[in-house]
């Protein structure tokens, strides 16, 4: 049979090898993704996504792909356009930010303008994600808490929630992340 080659970008030809035995997944999940992204290196968003995972230190369950993939998720344009319009209308007022929590499989979104001060916000987050955060103190942040609320500000830095005055927080907060206490050691102390 004429030797019809497959795409040259394939680093690992094993992926297309036809074998008699059961196809093994001995390489595990990570390599699967790499194999596929090799195949479509100039089109896929995923190489960026994996970089993203590494740099922010998020768990894989909490970070969705950032770049838009054509036709994904598979929803008709008509429907996409209609939901989008609705979203734009409702965001005219309010300041919505995403909230993620380490270990939770989904994100939430909240409107920061609804709250007047930190305690209200904390109460909401505690209810939403079913955790409790200890008392905040300027010196040591949320000492001994299992979970610590943090946020990403306009400059891309991760800060401890409560460090700056409320108004400044609302205007500079891009998104919230409820981090595991053990990971938050670097934030909020010795400032």
């Amino acid at each position: 049979m004429e030797n019809v080659g497959v795409c040259d970008e394939f680093v690992n030809l094993k992926a297309t090898e036809l074998r008699l035995g059961l196809p093994g997944t001995e390489d595990g999940g990570e390599e699967e993704r790499q194999k596929v992204s090799c195949c479509k290196s100039n089109k896929r968003a995923f190489p960026e996504t994996e970089k993203d995972i590494e740099s922010t230190g998020k768990t894989e369950t909490a970070s969705p792909p950032k770049a838009q993939i054509v036709g994904w998720p598979p929803v008709r344009s008509y429907r996409k356009n209609n939901i989008q319009t609705k979203k734009n209308e409702s965001e005219g007022q309010g300041m919505y930010v995403k909230v993620s929590m380490d270990g939770a499989p989904y994100l939430r979104k909240i409107d920061l303008t609804v709250y007047k001060q930190y305690p209200e916000l904390m109460k909401l987050l505690e209810n939403m994600f079913k955790f409790s955060v200890g008392k905040y103190c300027e010196r040591e942040g949320y000492k001994d808490s299992e979970f610590v609320p943090t946020y990403e500000d306009k400059d891309g830095d991760w800060m401890l929630v409560g460090d700056v005055p409320w108004e400044m927080f609302v205007s500079s907060c891009k998104r919230l992340r409820i981090m595991k206490g053990s990971e938050a050691k670097g934030l909020g102390c010795g400032v």
């Binding site: 997944t25 838009q68 036709g71 008709r76 429907r79």
Partner: protein
Amino acid sequence: MDLRLPSKVLEHILSFVDSNEDRNSVSLVCKSWFETERRTRKRVIVRNCYAVTPAAVARRFPEMKSLTLKGKPHFADYNLVPDGWGGYVWPWIEAMAAKCPSLEELRLKRMVVTDECLEKIAASFKDFKVLVLTSCEGFSTDGLAAIAVACRNLRELELRECIVEDIGGDWLSYFPETLTSLVSLDFSCLDSEVKLSDLERLLSRSPNLKSLKLNRAVSLDALGSLLRLAPQLVELGTGSFSDKLDQEAVAKLSQAFSELKELKSLSGLWDVLPEYIPLLYSVCPGLTSLNLSYATVQMSDLVELITRCSNLQKLWVMDLIEDKGLEVVASSCKELRELRVFPSGAGLDETNVAMTEQGLVYVSEACPNLESVLYFCVQFTNTAMVTIARNRPNLKCFRLCVMEPFAPDHKTQKPLDEGFKAIVERCKDLQRLSVSGLLTDKAFEYIGTHGKKLRMLSIAFAGDSDLMLHHLLSGCESLNKLEIRDCPFGDTALLENAAKLKTMRSLWMSSCCVSFGACKLLSQKMPKLNVEVIDEHPLETRPDSSPVERIYIYRTLAGPRLDMPEFVWTIHKNPEIGVSHLAIK
């Protein structure tokens, strides 16, 4: 002795045979049965408009009254088919106008329909009654006006999720005063406002109107007067549900709703405000179909409606319903047959609600008649799928869209192979399946082994190798439509299973690793197929080893199509390659 059934007798018998599948069998018996059948078939369905020529269809079925056509491949819905690919209905209308002028009904899906087409329909078919366009594009509201003004006996005009050039709402005023036959009107996908008085007058003279689906521009205020003019409605699609009404208006609207004694289906409800949900309570017990997929209300409000809908068979909703809301569906809607949960997330690339696999598990446990599922969810688990399969072996359609590509079971981090295995193993009558999430070739081995009744399969971002395709093409006996995107298989499985493609309606593959050389080989091997290579950015020269962007393969009696744009290649564009020249295995 002539043992043949007299054709008049056969004709009479055939008048009771409605199903086209049965009629197709009848036409295979012998020549005289073929002749009698074709002369008496009224309803013709062509599921791929390029599988056969319009002239051949018109010639074969001269008494055709109703024609259904489908054009673009399914993935066109998700923008994977470039504009200008094809699916033009014009040649069909031309042929029917010439050969079957008594055509009364036209139903089109995913086709390009121009204003000229609509004008030609209006001019050519004197007794035209039904026009249903689903996911179509290419026309403007001027074309609608042409239909409205000329079709004196129009019964149904339905535009379902079409992309229409909306020049204005005048088209509605073109329905003549003499038109009293309207049974169904759906203009929900149009943007501009129609004149309320025109609509009211139309309703007043349409005593047979059973289905009315308004567009978003029709206000809540207007809805009241419309409902009072059509209390006999069986299907209602409201307009926008969000104006601020005063007490009196609310009371009147509530009264109007309670007069809708025949209402079985409710949709629309765009922008519905929570305080107006109680307006709908009176119709809930009678509803068998509820489409809340454009209603951006929170779970607690959705639940208020759903608890009252004990006869619901079909529910479309957004993931705002959350697991808790689906638990309510499970306990309230015991007659449920079809559930679709759409993503609400901004930009549709993440969700912001608490809906997980558990919601679907609840419904599968408690709704014995559930047979069709479309579920968008961020992540899933194998255990959930196993439970769902165990609960609902009667599933016929299972479309799971795990929105994060390559997402594994979020509890065990394993691929979702075992979950889908349970689905295909237990649901023996499964006809349609969409898979997603992290899947290895093993998943497709299971599908090939167990999915014997599977007719349509959709795959994205899955598998490891050629084995994936090989399992499917060699295992799924009933496979009719296969669509694949972004999967890492190459040429071998495709070429080895080429014969299978003759038994299928179509195969779509995009962003996979199929080479141009394989496409050429396949084309030569299988002359009864159209093998279309769709490449918007082809290389200057196309070496055999270069991967193609998309390939669409379908069986056809019509040969190469005459309306291929530049970016679609078939072997017929390179006649020098020929059929006998290259070495064929």
